[in-house]
Point group: C2
Chain length 281, copies 2
């Protein structure tokens, strides 16, 4: 496995794989089993897997956790080597954003609600860096987890809108045994906070069961999730939304053709998100 | 020469050229010798030339000339066939922007001044459609005229920022014998308006001569151009700006490392632009 920091070095290494299919897994590092499930899928579906590790500053807002976001490149590389990854691209911010970098990609309609409401500019940062990584790596397939559902939908749409020559593969949420969705930010949680955080998957699970029993009203389901979360002391609900997966707009009734039920909470200063989908992605 | 209207048909035709280099000339049709100089350059530098003809609605603002913008596909195709072009892509707006198209590309710093000041959203429309055309056609080289200097700089920057795998070739302004820069909009001009419009190349030419004689002050040069234009009755000056080509920001003194001197006028309801560059692009 090669670890490269510059775009020029990456291109030199990629030339060796020019005849095969490339899978790209874009990450911010501090890898967990969620990332590794993407790496595994990429390994199965392609001739070579490239994992990018880049804590992208443009998707963090003022006051967010850019500075303290966990970084552990050595550990990440050990995990990726064991998983049989061919190439790791770990650029510095200056390599990705040299002076005079001015281009921004955005999708106002899709990025306005859910996480976008409390993180202005976040998704523009995500779309721009993903477009740049796709331009740099030119993969045949790129892998995202549905845990970041709004991101996955927006990236998929960008690729479709701009006719980018890549297949976006969206993979399931990976959870710990207690039900908490894996996230690099979980390591911010104290033992007690982690127990409180389980209110999030618990509330979503309760809503999912209600849907399975026939409940379709978004109002009823949102209240169910909200009540479940706000009754947990120390947990602050940021949002709970039920939206159409296609345009991220709130819908009154859950449908089986692609409904996203998503929520975000704050526990002890840590922001966590989780979701489930009814119907097809 | 094949003329295709759908992306699927274009891809079928492009498959035939998969081993050679492709040159793309994006146009809004109503072709003139300016476009044909790009077509000629593309023909020389590539194995096959694709010309797109698409009056892109997203780069027109409210009240602009989208509806009356001249369209003559038959004549355009005759000219392109004679020039030896392999493929014409002439999609309908619905083919380019199906329902649920949400992605926008922008460069606020580069797009704020000059033409961007009076045409909000224009350059976002340009960058987005160019990115989409590059995604659809995947050319090795793409051709633009420096007559639309801000556009050429912004597209070049987008390609660099997003590491798009294409070489942007920027070609010189082509002028009629009287000095007027070729533009599809010139056909809006009455005979009298056309004579008045010559104040634009005349003023720029006078400024260029002053620079050649040693004048470096932007203030002096802007006043020279302004005075020249406003003394022509029936001609309205929209802007005259002297900017750094690299960031499109106004500069106090002309330098030989890339200065753009650009102006826009209105004559009888028609908006015309022209420019010259000091130093290297």
């Amino acid at each position: 496995m090669k670890v490269v920091k510059s775009i020029a070095d990456l291109h030199r290494e990629l030339d060796a794989f020019s005849s095969g299919h490339i899978g790209l897994v874009p990450t911010m590092g501090c890898l967990h089993r969620g990332h590794m499930s993407l790496v595994e899928a990429a390994g199965k579906e392609n001739d070579a897997t490239v994992v990018s590790i880049f804590v992208n500053p443009t998707q963090f807002g003022p006051g967010e956790d850019l500075e303290r976001y966990p970084r552990d490149l050595d550990r990440d590389c050990r995990m990726l080597r064991e998983a049989g990854v061919e190439l790791v691209f770990a650029p510095a911010p200056e390599e990705m954003y040299p002076p005079g970098f001015y281009t921004r990609i955005d999708q106002e309609v899709l990025g306005a609600g859910l996480c976008g409401a409390s993180r202005p500019g976040h998704f523009s940062g995500v779309l721009t860096v993903v477009a740049k990584l796709l331009g740099i790596c030119r993969p045949d397939r790129v892998y995202f987890g549905i845990k970041d559902a709004q991101q996955a939908v927006m990236v998929t749409r960008m690729v479709r809108d701009l006719n980018m020559h890549v297949k976006v593969r969206v993979m399931p949420i990976i959870r710990d045994a207690d039900g908490l969705a894996l996230s690099s930010r979980n390591r911010y949680l104290s033992h007690d906070d982690r127990l409180l955080a389980l209110a999030l998957p618990g509330a979503l699970d309760a809503a999912r069961r209600k849907i399975e029993m026939g409940e379709k009203s978004s109002r009823v389901l949102v209240r169910e999730i909200r009540d479940h979360i706000v009754q947990t002391p120390g947990v602050e609900l940021e949002y709970v939304e039920i939206v159409n997966l296609d345009d991220m707009q709130p819908i009154d009734r859950v449908t089986s053709t692609g409904t996203l039920v998503a929520a975000a909470i704050r526990v002890g200063g840590t922001r966590l998100i989780d979701n489930f989908i009814v119907g097809e992605i």
